[in-house]
């Protein structure tokens, strides 16, 4: 032997010795073993009985050598008769069969697996010649032209800054895995607030148009089994976070934020610096006004959605940004605030479908990826104002809030503006001068949680979210709605400091058409 391998002569001798030993063993034991009447051939029975798996609720079939039986697993005992009948019909002797109740076997996909519909937090791959790189999908959304897609890092395209139509694949570049094509990635600028000799942007973001054959779960992020546990396995019991709102700016230092990424999974930590100008190692790029979070991160986590958890049990979250970098020791990550991502000079406004959680589900069956260039969206507030009540002036309470206005906002897309999208804006004010009257001079209420139900020919959808600094909560766009009349009703309104005084509703802007003491507003398509 030399260098741990068998020399040719020794190899031949070893093989010969093994063959001889085997022949001797066969001579002594083989014939008698073959001659013995053995147990039923369970493997053959298993093959014969395999069609039993066609019965819904049958979990498994196994030739279990420990009990010398063909064991069929079922989700519930009620299936036993059907199983036995089917096996008998297949010619399987029932005395060889045992039926056991077995928990259903659930696939446990990981962030690195192929997952459809696509959602934030999953691994994707792209080619930057000559290598294939992996990053993390940020979040799904639609751009201002109504094109559906998803946000990724600019540095997760073929060239950071500028559009090269980079193709994105999930989870890898195997055939059939293409999920999108880069369509937006602003170039880095110089001058202005950018340090001399550097190139700057306010976010490391790009937008990829989704493939028409790929489905996406809008407003959803993959949820793994827990924070800071290193798991990449998606929690089968609670597989998703739901985006209900977007942060309106940078995070306050001390805020606890989270991210889900394909390398280190779900990690959580506190914001340590807010609105920091950051030089990207090995480049002339400076990212302006970024936030830093003390939480674990690793290579491949680029693009991870960054979010605040509003409710752990329901998975309701506020989207804060898109991760792009980290300290070299993996102790902290850097992200671009979602507000920066949506600046006019960056990706522009995106509908991330914040507030479309709860009972609202979005499984787009078609995406307008192949439609001609959509016309510029027109946002036309439409209102059928039906004043039905006049608030009685009197002694009020500055802590009383109310729904000031419910407005349908409209945009059109497609050739000739043939497709109508609608969203609902709910404006919340409080009786800040305590005069018991709802009026336009009252202060807007930010941070109020609004629930609004939209009823139309397509069914009923309940949406919720939080008001911004103007006191306004906007739902995501409801895409390509059919003609008909739609009614939006504010069904719940809560706030940490203020209470909803329904006596102040409906205001002169809205109605209560169904008389249930909740303000509503109707809108008809076509207009």
């Amino acid at each position: 032997m030399r260098n741990g391998t068998l020399g040719p002569n020794l190899f031949v001798r070893a093989v010969t010795a093994i063959a001889l030993a085997a022949a001797v063993a066969m001579a002594f034991t083989g014939p008698s073993a073959i001659a013995q009447p053995g147990p039923p051939d369970q493997e053959a029975l298993k093959a014969r009985g395999r069609p039993v798996l066609e019965i819904p609720g049958v979990v498994s079939i196994d030739a279990d050598e420990r009990v010398d039986r063909l064991v069929v697993g079922v989700e519930n005992r009620g299936l036993e008769t059907a199983v036995r009948q089917r096996l008998a019909a297949l010619g399987v002797p029932l005395q060889s069969v045992e039926v056991r109740q077995t928990p259903p076997i659930i696939m446990m996909p990981a962030l690195t697996d192929r997952v459809r519909p696509i959602e934030g937090g999953l691994q994707f791959a792209f080619v930057r010649f000559p290598f294939v790189y992996v990053c993390t999908l940020g979040f799904n959304g639609a751009n201002s032209a109504g094109v559906n897609g998803f946000a990724v890092n600019s540095h997760c395209t073929s060239t950071q800054g500028g559009v090269e139509s980079t193709e994105h694949f999930q989870p890898d570049t195997s055939s059939g895995n293409k999920i999108g094509t880069e369509i937006a990635d602003p170039t880095y600028f110089t001058g202005g607030g950018c340090p001399a000799s550097r190139r700057c942007r306010y976010s490391d973001s790009a937008f990829s148009r989704i493939e028409s054959s790929v489905t996406q779960d809008l407003g959803k992020l993959a949820r793994t089994t827990g924070p800071n546990n290193g798991s990449l396995v998606i929690d089968t019991a609670r597989p998703q976070f739901t985006i209900s709102s977007e942060a309106s700016g940078n995070a306050l230092v001390g805020t606890t934020l989270n991210k889900v990424g394909r390398t280190t999974g779900w990690t959580q930590g506190q914001v340590t610096q807010s609105c920091v100008d950051v030089n990207v190692s090995g480049s002339d790029i400076t990212q302006l006004c970024q936030d830093i979070v003390a939480a674990g991160v690793g290579g491949g986590d680029s693009g991870s959605p960054v979010f605040l958890i509003n409710d752990l049990s329901s998975g309701d979250v506020t989207l804060y940004g898109i991760l792009w970098g980290g300290f070299s020791d993996g102790s902290a990550f850097v992200h671009s605030p979602v507000r920066n991502v949506q600046m006019a000079s960056e990706l522009g406004p995106l509908t991330t479908h914040a507030g479309e959680g709860g009972s609202a589900t979005h499984t787009p069956t078609s995406t307008p990826t192949n439609t001609p260039t959509p016309s510029e969206p027109t946002q036309t507030p439409t209102r059928t104002s039906t004043p039905t009540a006049t608030p009685t002036p009197g002694s009020g309470n500055a802590n009383n809030m109310y729904v000031w206005d419910i407005v349908f906002e409209t945009r059109t897309r497609g050739p000739g503006g043939s497709m109508h999208d609608e969203r609902v804006a709910v404006v919340v004010r409080r009786d800040s001068d305590a005069d018991g009257t709802a009026e336009p001079t009252d202060a807007p209420v930010s941070g109020a949680t609004v629930m609004v139900t939209v009823v139309g020919s397509s069914g009923t959808t309940t949406l919720s979210g939080t008001t911004d600094s103007n006191g306004t909560f906007r739902t995501g766009w409801m895409m390509n709605l059919a003609n008909g009349t739609y009614t939006a009703e504010a069904t719940n309104l809560t706030h940490a400091a203020y209470v909803w005084n329904k006596e102040l509703d409906p205001t002169t802007n809205d109605a209560d058409a169904d008389g249930d003491n909740l303000p509503d507003q109707s809108h008809t398509i076509p207009h």
Partner: protein, 184 residues
């Protein structure tokens, strides 16, 4: 003019065309480079700008952050300005900014406008190799400069001195390099 050699007379218009072409070409180049140098959009209001707006309504405001006990910690030079600061925070950042745990006042040493001025003066530090971050750090009431390793501290300190920025107003943190996190 009439005594100029013929050859020169012929060459002059051609030369003028060439010179004019060069001038026009260069002027386009200058226009192009101007376009590249111009920021794509007007600088948007940043988090730091919002902090400045709070200070305008509450003189002596020096920053704020969520402390470990869940309270909103507010830096003030004059602690009697707390009611004004709370009102300003409410109007600029929204009423939800004050958490249920309440607020606490910390003695500030610098105002946001001072920190902003120094941060702007230090902007060129970002062109120094090894400098990783620059931050008006409202959570420490300081300016924070991040560097990849401690050997850069003297260089940063020389810059502070040249800009007449108090050394104690600036914290210099060794962050290591900050890298994009695409993976193979």
């Amino acid at each position: 003019m009439s005594f100029l050699p013929r050859a020169h007379m012929v060459a002059t218009p051609a030369l003028a065309v060439v010179v004019l072409s060069i001038v026009v070409f260069l002027s386009f180049q200058i226009l192009d480079s101007d376009a590249e140098a111009r920021p794509i959009m007007a600088t948007p209001e940043t988090h730091d700008d919002r902090l400045l707006r709070v200070e305008q309504q509450a003189p002596g405001f020096g920053g704020m952050f969520i402390d470990r006990d869940g309270t909103l910690a507010i830096y003030l030079l004059d602690q009697s300005q707390l009611p004004a600061a709370l009102a300003a925070i409410d109007s600029v950042f929204g009423p939800q900014t004050v958490p249920p745990a309440g607020v606490k006042v910390l003695q500030g040493q610098y105002t946001i406008s001072q920190l902003k001025q120094w941060t702007d003066l230090l902007r060129d530090l970002l062109t120094m190799p090894g400098v990783t971050t620059l931050d008006l750090n409202e959570a420490t009431n300081r300016v924070t400069v991040g560097i990849s390793d401690s050997s850069l501290i003297p260089s940063v300190e020389r810059t502070l001195q040249s800009q007449a920025i108090p050394r104690e107003a600036v914290s210099i943190d060794v962050t290591g390099e900050i890298r994009p996190l695409g993976g193979h």
